[in-house]
Symmetry: D2
Subunit: 147 residues, 4 copies
């Protein structure tokens, strides 16, 4: 995969950014497959990530939806951009999030110079079976030093 | 304030539900002012809740936006309903979330028998000053035993 | 394709509903390909559907996004349901809507007994070329006589 | 009210833009009260703006929600900006839109140099009574000649 403008590979960038975010470390988020326009993030289920019914808490699913979209957008960082922030996202929760882990797959819908629209689908995985538990649509804003 | 259908006060319900959610405990979320149609949730800033720029992580803001809306909706739980779940929400992040704590105030826009639409505004507080950092619109679905 | 609970084919239902909606007639909306979980709606560009830059107005794109999602949801109307209404949708406008016509393709993401989540992508078509101009995520509520 | 950067009053700008949009003319949209950060748009109910149950069509409500947000954002057009476009919006439909007219009131939540977040509430009016029928949250992008 092509290096980003600043010479870092998209995989290296996603892994580095997660490791620099204490909240991502608290949740145990890690990168899965990263490719141009795509990013997979994974959080293992743990008792302290659940809500009162024992499902993974919606806050974890929201974190994943937002951040997988942001990581996908970061793989298409335009020349000269210093980084990106989430402007907004919308999340539909489809099913209770049960199982061993949640896997979020962000995919760029359209990337421009100023903003990127990305979609994330979040799956819960138990054994070999994946169930779609959430879908999100997000807008990420690219940031420039001169802004 | 009127008791909910099952005889618990809205304040007691919100406090109980937070205490039963391990993820809410992990984030240190606590209830502020609760009234019919309104719910305030508070999370104190901590190093492990931040992202790579030192701001409170968007995942914490998303958690607060979603849950303050849900807690507001729970204060208007209809007769016969067993509980509620978030169907969807949309969040706009307006400013970096800096300061000593984040305070989310959920407000019911319209509550019916099947669903409730609520809005949350999230503020970051430092000293006596509050800054609006996010706004969200959420749909909560009331759940019935016969569903 | 299987008939809907009330014995009408999904294609017939979409065509009938459009013909019964004066606003859909005003915009000249017509059904394209309809299949279980999918619905295509088409609006031909006309001078009176534009905004001040000559593009198709965002209001037309919003109409298409919402209604293609609703038509897709109607192809999976559950047993006993009398109809459906849009509960909410979120739309990202990606590019100016130019060209001869706009084609919206709604696709069911998940259909349950109470609600359906669907995604619509709206394309503008000129000659043989299609450009993605908008993407939307919608929640449709199924309505029952006993509600 | 202060003139916008290009010397036009916000009221004059909104009225001019509506008159330059053939689709707004088709719907009969007109400006109500306009002030810094606020914009009111009105559409009179007409048989050709309805759906199959006789209510004003959701497409009209979506048009109003989007455009009242955009008009509100236009009252805070930053120095040097040439105009604005809707980046995205999210709309919750709360009740059937019945009555003599729909009145949409857009209000700026936060305006920056690059984008503006605004909220619209849409009311249906019959006699002296107003009913809230929809609420929306929108992101508008300001456009600059050098973009």
């Amino acid at each position: 995969m092509t290096a980003l403008p600043h010479g870092e590979s998209p995989e290296a960038r996603v892994t580095r950014v997660l490791s620099e975010q204490p909240f991502s470390m608290l949740l145990g988020a890690r990168a899965g497959r990263i490719a141009r326009g795509h990013a997979e993030l994974i959080v293992e289920n743990r008792p302290d990530l659940t809500q009162n019914n024992g499902f993974m808490h919606g806050g974890v699913i929201g974190y994943l939806a937002d951040n997988a979209a942001g990581c996908a957008a970061s793989t298409m960082l335009p020349e000269g951009a210093a980084g990106l922030v989430t402007a907004e996202y919308k999340l539909n929760l489809l099913r209770p999030a049960t199982g061993a882990r949640a896997v979020a797959r962000g995919e760029v819908v359209k990337a421009g110079r100023r903003q990127c629209v990305a979609e994330t689908r979040v799956w819960c995985v138990t054994g070999g079976e994946e169930k779609l538990v959430a879908i999100a649509l997000a807008t990420l804003a690219y940031i420039y030093p001169e802004d």
